[in-house]
């Protein structure tokens, strides 16, 4: 993996941390990661270590911990350029940092669909994927969670601002362990075609214009 790609991978992982953490540790952690990679440590190992710790940092310090003491938590950090995705089993405030958990991380917008399929399959959930486009400000964010009639009360969602302080993105989805309904998750992708045209006219980089929306339907 080229050096700049390794550095970018680690940088992306660090963006999962809270702003407070980044303000305090990011400079030092970046230097530390550089030294470790120079010593031969895998960038993937470093990035994964940061992602695990960032998830813990956010879950322990934020109100998420008050939700559904025995639930599976699907946490989708909407702050990354990519789509980081973390699935926690048997989540409680007390054991947020304990063992019973599994992580799936999507660092690239281009494999978001595959990673979603992978995590849902690993938890015996069927997922069907469609591809659409969306506003650029909502790229990488979870925009909506849809359930069949009468099932919505079984889920809890936590909202936060999308990129650019645009409201409406979801930061977390809490699914009860024994949820039996059907859920559809919509993840934001690239800009709409009209925005693409405007952006191209304004000279924006092409990499900001591409990604799809992932529409995943899953059921237990």
């Amino acid at each position: 993996m080229a050096r700049h790609r390794r550095a970018r991978l680690v940088h992306l992982a660090m963006r999962c941390y809270s702003p407070k953490w980044r303000e305090r540790h990011a400079d030092e952690a970046t230097e530390l990661a550089d030294l470790l990679m120079r010593d031969g440590m895998s960038a993937v190992f470093i990035a994964f270590s940061f992602l695990k710790a960032a998830t813990r940092d956010r879950l322990v310090t934020r109100p998420v911990r008050r939700l559904a003491p025995t639930a599976a938590v699907l946490l989708i950090g909407a702050t990354l350029v990519g789509v980081p995705l973390v699935l926690l089993d048997s989540f409680t405030a007390a054991n947020a940092a304990s063992s019973g958990r599994s992580f799936v991380v999507v660092l690239s917008r281009h494999n978001a669909v595959g990673a979603l399929e992978s995590v849902f399959k690993s938890h015996r959930v069927n997922i069907k994927v469609e591809v659409e486009s969306s506003s650029s400000s909502q790229y990488g964010a979870v925009l909506a969670v849809k359930t069949a009639a009468g099932e919505h009360g079984t889920l809890k969602v936590i909202r936060r601002a999308c990129a650019g302080s645009v409201p409406g993105c979801l930061v977390a989805l809490v699914v009860p362990l024994h949820f039996a309904g059907v859920v559809q998750v919509v993840v934001g992708g690239g800009p709409k075609r009209c925005e693409t045209a405007v952006a191209l006219a304004n000279g924006q980089r092409s990499r900001e214009l591409q990604p799809p929306v992932v529409r995943g339907a899953f059921d237990h």
Binding site: E28, A29, E31, L32, L36, I46, K52
Partner: protein
């Protein structure tokens, strides 16, 4: 064994709940302040474990919250950390606890006491 006379009084062993990373970090800091990179190298040397940087900072934050370590003024971009007296006491309690478990285990394996 230092605390052999005590019962199961592990309420004082705060580190039992803080995790292995915290114990490794406190052990490393027991002989003097270190910054993150030096901590990881030292831990790998004395324990053989390669701790991830995320685990390191997570544990340092927890230990700092518990008052067991404190950050010293930054040197360039690096913050050295120092073990506090409370941290040293907690580490001692935890090592005593481990020593008791170790002694029982060795005894039951027929390896004799420590």
């Amino acid at each position: 064994m230092a605390a052999a006379g005590r019962g199961h009084g592990d309420e004082q062993d705060v580190l039992r709940r803080a995790g292995d990373a915290s114990v490794l970090i406190l052990t490393s800091l027991a002989d003097g302040p270190k910054h993150g990179y030096a901590l990881l190298l030292d831990i790998k040397e004395f324990s053989g474990l390669q701790m991830g940087p995320g685990t390191l900072y997570g544990a340092l934050d927890r230990l700092e919250g518990l008052g067991f370590v404190e950050a010293l003024p930054a040197e360039n971009r690096r913050h050295p950390y120092r073990i506090t007296s409370a941290g040293a006491m907690a580490l001692r309690e935890h090592l005593d606890s481990l020593e008791r478990v170790s002694a029982v285990g060795r005894l039951r394996l027929g390896l004799g006491g420590v």
